[in-house]
Amino acid sequence: MNPANIFNLGIKELRSLARDPIMMVLIVYAFTFSVYIAATALPETLNRAPIAIVDEDQSPLSLRIDSAFYPPYFTPPAMIGIPEMDSRMDAGRDTFALDIPPDFQRDVLAGRAPTIQLNVDATRMSQAFTGSGYIQSIVTGEVASFAQRYRAVSRLPVDLALRARFNPNLNQSWFGGVMQIIDAITMLSIVLTGAALIREREHGTIEHLLVMPVTPFEIMVSKIWAMALVVLTVSAVSLIVVVQGLLAVPIEGSVPLFLAGAALQLFATTAMGILLATLARSMPQFGLLLMLVLLPLQLLSGASTPRESMPVAIQYMMQAAPNTHFVILAQAILYRGAGFAVVWPQFLALALIGTGLFLWAQTRFRSTIATMA
C-alpha cells in the first residue's frame, strides 16, 4: 500500500468532480434547497388537518364546538350538510368529518349522553390517529366546560403534566431537516463512488490504472476518501448554515461527534457504492440497483417512521444497514445531546458494517478486474 498513490488518485477524483458543473449544482441543491424545502414543508404533526362539520343541532353548544377548531392544528372547518360528507371525503378533501346530531345540547344537559359521530379517512394513517385524539379532547373539553355551568360534574384533581423533551414544541422541521441531510449523505456517497467507478470502466481508464503500480486497494481507498471528504464537507456546511442557521434548529450535542459518525457512515456507504458498481455492468443497471438499495435504506432506517413499529424480522434485517445506526446516533447526538459514552455501540456497528462492505467490495473488485479491462 502506498499512501502517496492513494492521495494522488483521490486528488484526481476531486478534480474530475469539479469538472462536472451540473453535478456540483445538484450537490449544492441536495444539501441546501432540498433540505430547506423538505424541512419547512413538513407540517407540525397535526397541521392544518382538513376537517368538515355537519352541525345538525345549531345550538349554542354545537356552535361552541364548531368554533373550537382553528389553525394551525386544523383548517377552519367546512360547514357542510350530510349529503356532501361522503363525496368530500371520497375526493380526499377532508380527513375528518364531525357529525353533531340534532338536539345534541338538549340531550347532553338531560344526561342522555348523545353520540357524536367522527368520520376519519383512515387511509391517511398519520393524521388519522393523532387527529382523532385531538378532536376527542377538544370536544370533551368544550362539552365539559359548557356542562359545568349547568350540571355538577365531579372531577379528581389529578393532572397529567406532559412535556416533550429535546424538542418541546414537537417541531417537525427539527426532525425533517436533519433526516434530509442523512438521506442526502447516503444517496450522494453511493452515487459518487459507484458511478465514478462505472464511468472509469466505460471510458477504459480503469484499465490504465491497472497496468500501473497501483493496487485495487489503493484505487478503492482513494475513491472512498475523496468522495467522503466532499460529502462530509457539504453536510457540515449544510448542518451549520441551513439547519442551525436558516431553520434555527437548536443542536444539543456536539457537531464534531456527529461528523465523526458521519465519516464512519460514509466509509460504509462509499464502500457500498463500489460494491454496487462491481455488481452492475453498465450505468443503467447501476441506476436501477441504486433505487433498489436506496429506498429501503431511507424508508426502513427509522428516519421516516419509527423503527420499533416495524415487523421484528425487518428490524433485524435493518441492523445490517448502516443507515439504521446512523439515524440512531444522529438523533441521539443532535437532539438528545448524547456523548460518545452513549453512542459508541452505533460507532462500533458502523465500523464493522463498513469493514464488511469494504472487504466484500474488494473481493468483487479483484474478481471483476478481468471483465473491467
Binding site: 502506498n2 498513490n5 488518485l9 474530475s16 424545502i37 414543508a41 407540517p43 404533526t45 397541521n47 383548517t75 371520497d90 378533501r93 345534541f104 347532553v108 349522553a113 348523545p114 353520540t115 367522527l118 376519519v120 379517512d121 383512515a122 398519520s126 390517529f129 393523532t130 356542562a147 379528581l156 389529578v158 397529567l160 403534566a161 406532559l162 412535556r163 416533550a164 423533551r165 429535546f166 424538542n167 414537537l170 417537525q172 444517496m187 459518487l192 471510458h203 477504459g204 481508464t205 484499465e207 490504465h208 503500480p213 450505468m283 443503467p284 441506476g287 433505487m291 424508508l299 426502513l300 421516516s304 417512521t305 419509527p306 425487518i314 438528545r336 448524547a338 453512542v343 478486474i369 479491462a373
Partner: protein, 911 residues
C-alpha cells in the same frame, strides 16, 4: 450534374469551442459529384468542417450552403437532411453494439420512413454488396473494425444520399478491409454517378486516389485542387511530401525523415517471451497458442486484421487479462497481476483513448508521473520533456476531450513513456495521427530502442510503420501466421510491398477458414424507387423506429429488464411489510417516589395498554436523563411523593410525563395515547370512589374509520407505494436512455437524420411506458393477492390513471435527461428530483393540504399527488372514474406540458 454547382459552399466560416478557434475564416467551394478529400494534421478542424456541412453542429459564424441552401435555416435543413449521410469519426460510434447488423440498418431505414418492402430489398442489396450478408444476425459490437465501418456505410447509404460525408472512415482499419472499403465506395459511385463524397483521411496513399483535395492547417485552408495539381504546385513527388511542403515554415522545419540505425549485434537477452499463450472467452478462442520471443531493444511489430487477437495478446502481457493456457514472461519473470515491480518497467498504451478526460493534459501527465513514483523533484522536468517531445507544450491546459484524435494519441504516448520504462507495449498508437507527427513519434521510438535499449512491442495498421520494425508478426484469427523482417516476408511472398505480402497471407488464411468476407460481392443494383421524402413534423414510422430499437436494446440486456420488472416487486415487498405508520411497542419506565398500591396501579395501567412496553423502573433523575438520552425510553413517568394520599384526599396532584421529542410524529402519538390512558384511569378511580359517579360521560364520541375500518397499515400503505414505485424506476430508465446516447455518441443519429424532436422523445418513451404498465400489473397483483388489499373501486379506472401517470413519470425522466450530460448526473438528478417530492410532498404520509411553503406548491403540481388520490380512491374508497375526474385532468394536462418543455429545450444540433 457534376462540375456544375458546388455541393457545398462555405464563406467566412468560423467555429470556436470556448477560447480555442477550431475554424477561422474558411471560405471554400466543394465540387459536386466528386470524391473530395480533406487532409491536414490533427486538430486543424477537419471534423468540425464536416460536422458543419452535415448539419450535426450548429453554424456559429459565416455561411454554410449545402445542396443549394443555407444549412442554418431549419426549413432547408429539414428538406436536405434526407439527402445527406454522415458517418462520424471513430469505429462504429453511431452504431448500436447490442443490435445485430440487420437491425442496425433497419433502424436507419425506418428513420428515413421507408416501408417494409423497400427496406427489405435495400438492406438485402447493401448486405450483399458489402459482403456482410453472412453476418446479418451478428451483434454489431462483435464485428471487427473493418466490418463495423462497412456496416456504418450501409447505414449511411440506406436512403440514397446525394452527399456522403465520411470522417476518417478507415482509421484503425487493417489494410485488407481498407482496400475492400474503397472498392466498395468505388462501385457505389459507379452505380450512382451523381453522388458527392467528402472524406477526411490520415492516409496519404488514399488521398492520392481522390478527385479533389482540401489541405487544411490550424483552422484555415492551405490549398485546394486535384492531387496531381497539388504535387505540381509544391514540386513534391508524393502526396505525403506535398502535405509536409504545405505546412507552415516552423512546422516543416521540425520534420525530419525517420532514421533508424541498424541494431547493434550483441548478446540476445530476452525481454518478452510467450509460449503457447491462449485466451478463451467462453467458446471463442481469441488467442490460440501464440509463441514468440522478443529481444531487448528490439522493435517488434504486430500486424493483422481487426479483432484477430492482437489486443488480447497485449493485455495478457501486461497482466490485465489472465491467460487461459500457456505462459508469458517479461524479463524472465512470469507475468503476475500482483507484481508491481514489473509494472514499473512497462509502459502501456491501450487502443481506445483511456486517459482522464476531466483532467487537463498537464494534470494527466503529472498524475501518472506520481503514480509511477518518480522523485518529486524530477516530475516537472520530466513532464516538460514529454510535452516537448510529443508537441504538447501549447496544449498543457486543454482538456483531452476537446482535442482531436491525433493529439490525444500523442498524449497517451507521453503518458506511457513518462516513467522511462524498459519496455513499451503500444496498441495501435498511431491510429488517426497525421504523417508528420507519426514520423517524429517513430524517431523517438527509434532513439529509445537504439540508444536506451528499450524494447518496443507495437501493433499498427500502417504498412510503412510495420516495415520500420526489426521484425513483424502477422496475426490472424488468434494465430500467428508468420514472423520475420519486412524484407523476409516480402521475399517469401514474392511481393513488391509489405502491404501486398500482408494481403496475400491474409487471403490465403481466409480461404482456409472459409469465411468469404470478400467473396461474392454483388454489384450495386439500381436502387428501388425512393419513398417520397416528406420531412413532416410527425411520422409514426420514424417514431416507432426509435421505440423498436429501444425495446430491442432492453431485450438484449436481460439484467436491466429483470431489475426493472422485479426491482419494483422487491421494493413493494420490503416496504409493504416494513413501513408501518402504526405506532406501538413504545418503551416506558416509571420513577415512582410514592411506592404505594395506587402508584403501581397507575404504572400497571400504562403497561396494560397494547401500545406500551414496561422497562425496569427508574432509580433517580440521573437514570431518567441517561436512559432518555440514549433513546431507550420513549416515555418516562414520574409519580410524586404522597401520590396516593393526595389523590385520596382530593388534593391537587400532578403526574409528570416526559416524552422523547426527537421524532415528533412518534411523540405526538405517545402524547395522545398517554392522555387517553390517564383519562381512563381517572374515570375508573372516580367510579371506585365513595359516592362517585359511574364513568358514563356527558356524551359519546363514535369514531368511524372509513375505508380501512380495521386501521391496517398495509391497506393504507400499499396503494401509496404504487405511485412511488411507478415513478422512480420508469423515470430513471428514460433519463438514462437519452443521456447514455449523449455520453456514448450515438445521439449523432438524432442530429443528422430527419427524425424530429417529438418523434425522438415519444419513440424513446413508448417502450418504457409499456414496461411500466407491465410493472403496474405485477404490482397490482401483488397488492391484491399477497398483501390482501381489497380492490373496492374500478380496476379500469386505476389502470387508466396508471397509464397517464407512467406517461408523466417517463416524461419527467426525459426532461431530466435533457439538462444532464453525464450518466452520473442523470442518476443523481433523477434520484433527488423524484424520490423527495414523491415521498414527502405528494401526500404519501402527510396530505398535501397540510403541507406548507415550497413543498406544498411542489406537491400541488407533482403528478404523484394526483395518482395517489386515484390509487387510494380506487383501492380503498370504492371510487370510479366519474368520482375521480378531478385527479385525472391534472395528470392528463401534465403530459403535454412536460413534453412541450422537452421539445423546446432539446437541441437538434450539437452546439
Amino acid at each position: 450534374m457534376s462540375g456544375s454547382a458546388p455541393v457545398a459552399r462555405l464563406s467566412g466560416v468560423g467555429l470556436r469551442y470556448g477560447a480555442t478557434h477550431a475554424l477561422a475564416e474558411v471560405s471554400v467551394e466543394i465540387p459536386a459529384g466528386r470524391m473530395a478529400g480533406l487532409i491536414g494534421p490533427d486538430g486543424v478542424g477537419k471534423s468540425s468542417l464536416l460536422a458543419l456541412i452535415a448539419g450535426a453542429r450548429s453554424v456559429q459564424e459565416g455561411r454554410v450552403e449545402v445542396l443549394g441552401g443555407d444549412i442554418a435555416d431549419p426549413a432547408h435543413r429539414a428538406r436536405v437532411c434526407p439527402r445527406i449521410a454522415y458517418m462520424p469519426q471513430g469505429l462504429g460510434r453511431n452504431l448500436y453494439p447490442t443490435l445485430s447488423v440487420f437491425e442496425n440498418i433497419d433502424f436507419f431505414a425506418r428513420l428515413f420512413g421507408q416501408a417494409e418492402a423497400e427496406r427489405r430489398t435495400r438492406i438485402g442489396e447493401l448486405l450483399a454488396a458489402t459482403g456482410l450478408a453472412p453476418f446479418a444476425e451478428r451483434a454489431a459490437g462483435h464485428l471487427s473494425g473493418g466490418m463495423k465501418q462497412k456496416l456504418g456505410l450501409c447505414c449511411a447509404l440506406i436512403h440514397d444520399p446525394d452527399l456522403l460525408i465520411l470522417d476518417e472512415p478507415t482509421t484503425g482499419v487493417d489494410p485488407l478491409s481498407r482496400r475492400q472499403f474503397w472498392e466498395l465506395i468505388g462501385r457505389i459511385r459507379a452505380g450512382r454517378p451523381g453522388l458527392s463524397v467528402m472524406v477526411a483521411t490520415a492516409y496519404m496513399e488514399e488521398a492520392a486516389r481522390f478527385d479533389w483535395l482540401l489541405a487544411m492547417d490550424a483552422g484555415r485552408v492551405l490549398a485546394t485542387g486535384g492531387p496531381a495539381e497539388l504535387q505540381r504546385q509544391t514540386g513534391a513527388n508524393s502526396l505525403e511530401a506535398v502535405f509536409i511542403a504545405l505546412l507552415p515554415e516552423e512546422k516543416r522545419r521540425a520534420h525530419k525523415p525517420v532514421h533508424i540505425p541498424p541494431r547493434p549485434p550483441g548478446e540476445a537477452e530476452t525481454a518478452i517471451e510467450a509460449k503457447g499463450l491462449t485466451r478463451r472467452f467462453g467458446d471463442f478462442v481469441a488467442v490460440d497458442h501464440v509463441d514468440f520471443r522478443i529481444e531487448r531493444g528490439e522493435i517488434f511489430g504486430f500486424i493483422g486484421s481487426n479483432g484477430c487477437g492482437k489486443t488480447t495478446t497485449m493485455k495478457m502481457l501486461t497482466g490485465l487479462l489472465p491467460a487461459t493456457e500457456g505462459q508469458a514472461r517479461l524479463f524472465g519473470h512470469e507475468v503476475d497481476a500482483n507484481d508491481l515491480q514489473t509494472r514499473r518497467r512497462v509502459g502501456y498504451m491501450s487502443q481506445s483513448f483511456s486517459l482522464y478526460s476531466e483532467l487537463t493534459v498537464r494534470q494527466n501527465l503529472v498524475l501518472h508521473a506520481k503514480l509511477f513514483q518518480l522523485p518529486a523533484a524530477d516530475i516537472a522536468g520530466r513532464v516538460e520533456e514529454m510535452a516537448r517531445r510529443f508537441e504538447l507544450t501549447g496544449l498543457m491546459d486543454a482538456l483531452p476531450g476537446t482535442l482531436p484524435l491525433g493529439q490525444r494519441q500523442r498524449l497517451s504516448l507521453a503518458v506511457a513513456m513518462i516513467h522511462g520504462p524498459d519496455m513499451l507495449i503500444l496498441d495501435e498508437p498511431t491510429s488517426g495521427v497525421d504523417p508528420v507527427a507519426r514520423d517524429s513519434f517513430w524517431q523517438s521510438l527509434a532513439d529509445l530502442s537504439r540508444q536506451d535499449r528499450v524494447t518496443i512491442f507495437i501493433s499498427t495498421h500502417f504498412m510503412n510503420e510495420a516495415a520500420r520494425c526489426d521484425r513483424v508478426a502477422l496475426m490472424h484469427a488468434g494465430r500467428v501466421l508468420v514472423i520475420g523482417s519486412a524484407a523476409e516476408l516480402m521475399a517469401a511472398r514474392g511481393a513488391a510491398t509489405l502491404e501486398d505480402a500482408f494481403i496475400g497471407y491474409l487471403e490465403d488464411a481466409t480461404k482456409e477458414t472459409g469465411t468469404a468476407e470478400s467473396a461474392a460481392l454483388a454489384p450495386i443494383a439500381d436502387p428501388p424507387a425512393p419513398t417520397p421524402r416528406s420531412p413532416g413534423w410527425f411520422n409514426p414510422r420514424r417514431m416507432f423506429s426509435y421505440s423498436r430499437r429501444e425495446a430491442l436494446e432492453l431485450r438484449r440486456d436481460p439484467i436491466r429488464l429483470t431489475l426493472a420488472l422485479l426491482g419494483s416487486v422487491i421494493l413493494m415487498l420490503v416496504m409493504g411489510f416494513g413501513v408501518s405508520l402504526d405506532v406501538q411497542n413504545l418503551t416506558f419506565a416509571v420513577l415512582d417516589h410514592d411506592q404505594t398500591t395506587m402508584s403501581s396501579d397507575y404504572a400497571l395501567n400504562i403497561a396494560g395498554s397494547p401500545y406500551f412496553i414496561d422497562r425496569s423502573p427508574l432509580r433517580d433523575y440521573a437514570d431518567l436523563d441517561r436512559r432518555m438520552r440514549d433513546g431507550e425510553l420513549a416515555l418516562a413517568i414520574e409519580l410524586p411523593p404522597h401520590f396516593a394520599r393526595d389523590v385520596e384526599r382530593g388534593d391537587p396532584v400532578s403526574v409528570g410525563a416526559w416524552i422523547d421529542g426527537a421524532m415528533p410524529m412518534r411523540a405526538e402519538t405517545v402524547k395522545a395515547y398517554m392522555e387517553a390512558i390517564h383519562a381512563q384511569w381517572l374515570a375508573r378511580k372516580e367510579a371506585q370512589m365513595p359516592g362517585g359517579t359511574p364513568p358514563a360521560g356527558l356524551f359519546n364520541l363514535e369514531i368511524r374509520y372509513r375505508y380501512n375500518p380495521d386501521v391496517v397499515s398495509i391497506v393504507a400503505m400499499v396503494p401509496a407505494m404504487l405511485p412511488l414505485l411507478l415513478l422512480l424506476i420508469p423515470a430513471m430508465l428514460t433519463a438514462l436512455s437519452v443521456v447514455r446516447e449523449k455520453e456514448l455518441g450515438s445521439i449523432i443519429n438524432f442530429y443528422v437524420t430527419p427524425v424530429t424532436r417529438l418523434e425522438f422523445l415519444l419513440g424513446k418513451q413508448l417502450p418504457y411506458i409499456i414496461l411500466a404498465m407491465v410493472n403496474f400489473l405485477l404490482l397490482f397483483l401483488l397488492a391484491v393477492l399477497l398483501f390482501g388489499v381489497p380492490m373496492k373501486g374500478g380496476f379500469l379506472t386505476l389502470a387508466f390513471g396508471a397509464l397517464l401517470y407512467v406517461t408523466c413519470a417517463t416524461a419527467i425522466g426525459l426532461l431530466i435527461s435533457i439538462f444532464m450530460n453525464s450518466q452520473i448526473a442523470a442518476i443523481f438528478g433523477t434520484a433527488i428530483l423524484s424520490i423527495i417530492p414523491a415521498i414527502q410532498f405528494s401526500g404519501m404520509i402527510d396530505p398535501v393540504s397540510s403541507l406548507q411553503g415550497m413543498g406544498r406548491l411542489i406537491g400541488e403540481v407533482y403528478p404523484t399527488t394526483h395518482f395517489l388520490d386515484i390509487s387510494r380512491g380506487t383501492f380503498s374508497k370504492a371510487l370510479y372514474f366519474h368520482d375521480l375526474y378531478g385527479s385525472f385532468w391534472p395528470l392528463a394536462a401534465t403530459i403535454p406540458v412536460l413534453l412541450g418543455v422537452c421539445v423546446f429545450f432539446l437541441n437538434k444540433q450539437e452546439r
